[in-house]
Structure formats: C-alpha cells, structure tokens
C-alpha cells in the first residue's frame, strides 16, 4: 500500500510536532510531501502523486478552525474539477483519505459545551466534502493535542499510533492491529539491541499463537451461537 502525506505547515522546521512525525514516517515507505516547501505547484506532478497513492493523508496544524493557507492554495490549484469528478474518471475513487491534525488546545475542548464549542469532525467538514465528492473512503481523523505537554510514554504511543495510521489496514480492529505488529516485529528484528534471534523468534511465535488462540475462541463462540439459534 502506498501512502502519500500532504503536509502543510508554514514553519515546519520550528514545529516540534511535525519534526517528530517526520522521523516516524521516515521508517516506512511513505511519501512525505510538504506543500510550502514546493518552489512552484506543478499541477500535473501533484495529480500524478495523488493518482499513485492508495492512502492520502492531509497533515497540518489547526489555524483558526482550518488548515493553513498553504494547503488551501494547494487544494485550489491541484484539485481541479476535472480531476476530482468532471472528466468521468474519478481519479481518487476508493482511495483512503485521512487527516492528521495537531491542536494547541486539549481535545476535550473540541465538543459542544467545551471552550471551543465545535467538534473536530465539524471543523473537517469541508475536507470531508471534497473526499466524498471524489468518492474516497474516509478514515477517522487522527488528532494530536498539545504535543509538547505529552509525557514520554504518551509521545511514544503517539508515534506508533501515527505509524499505524499511515500504514495499517483499516478499520482499526484488534485483528488488524495484531497483523500490523506481527509484520513490524518481523521487519524490525534485525535492528533490536542486545538480543538474539531465538529469544525474538519465541516472542514472535508466542504473539502469533495468542492471535490464533483468540481466533479459535471466536469461532467456538460462533459455533455455540449457531447451536443456540437452532
């Protein structure tokens, strides 16, 4: 699966959050595409990138309940009517569309009755409308609130959740999570410190065994349920 991250931030080098996410994204075969870093927006090239991706993510900090002006400018130039729906090709049909947004206010304030009094989903409605028009599949928004206030453990979890958001199969079920961790563990084996292969293989095999035991239990329950219906 090819993931394209369209990143918008006018001062990306000064953003601790974006630098952190960039390090996380580097470990994977994903394309990090910073729109304010483009010398000129080459519409054909941008559309080619979008066509080649299976999962397209818009990533930005929230500025006055919207994306930064750079992303809007990019959208207005690149997402032409013909490209989105006009020429009958539905270039982005069935591709997955995700949003990674960072906020300076706590997530709990983004709800009716919170100090922001508006939900993140309401704020994202214009982007969702584009995705719907393009017949894309929407992923839930990935919100990072007050990154600088997160404790080390929370930051670590955010890093892995972000990596899963970029590359894991959706929906985010336990089955799909297990599959992702199994694959990643196997891929990262060689980079682990102070360990030998036997130890790691035992861990991996036990993890897989646990996954299979769960699956077995689920089918047992489904058999019993069938029996109850009869």
């Amino acid at each position: 699966m090819k993931t394209l991250i369209i990143v918008s931030h006018p001062e990306i080098n000064n953003s601790q959050t974006q630098q952190f996410l960039m390090q996380g994204a580097k470990l994977f075969d994903v394309t990090w595409h910073h729109v304010e870093g483009l010398k000129k927006i080459d519409v054909d090239n941008e559309q080619k990138l979008l066509r080649a991706a299976d999962r397209i993510i818009f990533q930005f900090p929230l500025y006055w309940y919207a994306a930064p002006a750079g992303l809007k400018d990019w959208e207005d130039k690149v997402l032409t009517r013909n490209f989105i729906y006009g020429d009958g090709n539905d270039n982005l049909r069935d591709k997955e569309f995700g949003i990674v947004v960072s906020t300076g206010m706590p997530l709990k304030e983004f709800r009716r009755g919170g100090t922001e009094n508006i939900t993140i989903d309401q704020i994202m409605a214009p982007l969702r409308a584009i995705a719907d028009r393009a017949k894309m599949e929407n992923l839930p928004v990935f919100v990072i609130s007050q990154f600088q206030y997160l404790k080390e453990e929370q930051q670590m979890q955010t890093l892995i959740d972000y990596q899963r958001y970029l590359t894991q199969k959706y929906p985010d079920t336990l089955d799909n999570r297990q599959e992702w961790f199994e694959q990643e563990f196997a891929d990262r084996l060689k980079t682990l410190d102070e360990t030998n292969c036997t130890e790691c293989e035992t861990i991996l095999n036990t993890f897989i065994q646990q996954k299979e035991d769960l699956s077995q239990l689920k089918s047992t329950i489904s058999l019993i349920k069938q029996g109850e219906d009869e």
């Binding site: 979890q157 563990f185 239990l217 047992t220 109850e228």
Partner: protein, 60 residues
C-alpha cells in the same frame, strides 16, 4: 495455560523494550506490549463467554 503465556509475553516485551537504545524500537515494543495486554483481556472475556454459553441452563 493461555493466561500465563500472555503474562509471560507481556513481561518479555517489557524486558526487551528496556534493553533498546533506539527510541523508535523502545516505542514499538512498549506499544506491542499494550496489544498483548489487549489480547489477554480479550482472551479472558471470550473464555468467560464460552463458559457462560456452555453452562446456559436454558439450553439444557
């Protein structure tokens, strides 16, 4: 016992995470440990459901 295996796995991942110098490996193994804990919880619930359904007196 499956329950013991899950607890063992969670501890092993914790130990392995502590040995890692690279931040991303530490983060990965710590997150994987959470999934193992989730497996363990789910296992207990499903096992309980199997027992409950097998002992359903209305089906006797």
């Amino acid at each position: 016992m499956a329950e013991d295996t899950g607890v063992w796995l969670s501890k092993e991942l914790s130990k392995l995470a502590d040995k890692q110098k690279a931040y991303e490996n530490r983060a990965f193994l710590t997150a994987m440990k959470k999934v193992v804990e989730e497996q363990n919880d789910r296992m207990k619930l499903l096992q309980g459901e199997v027992d409950g359904r097998l002992w359903n007196h209305e089906q006797w």
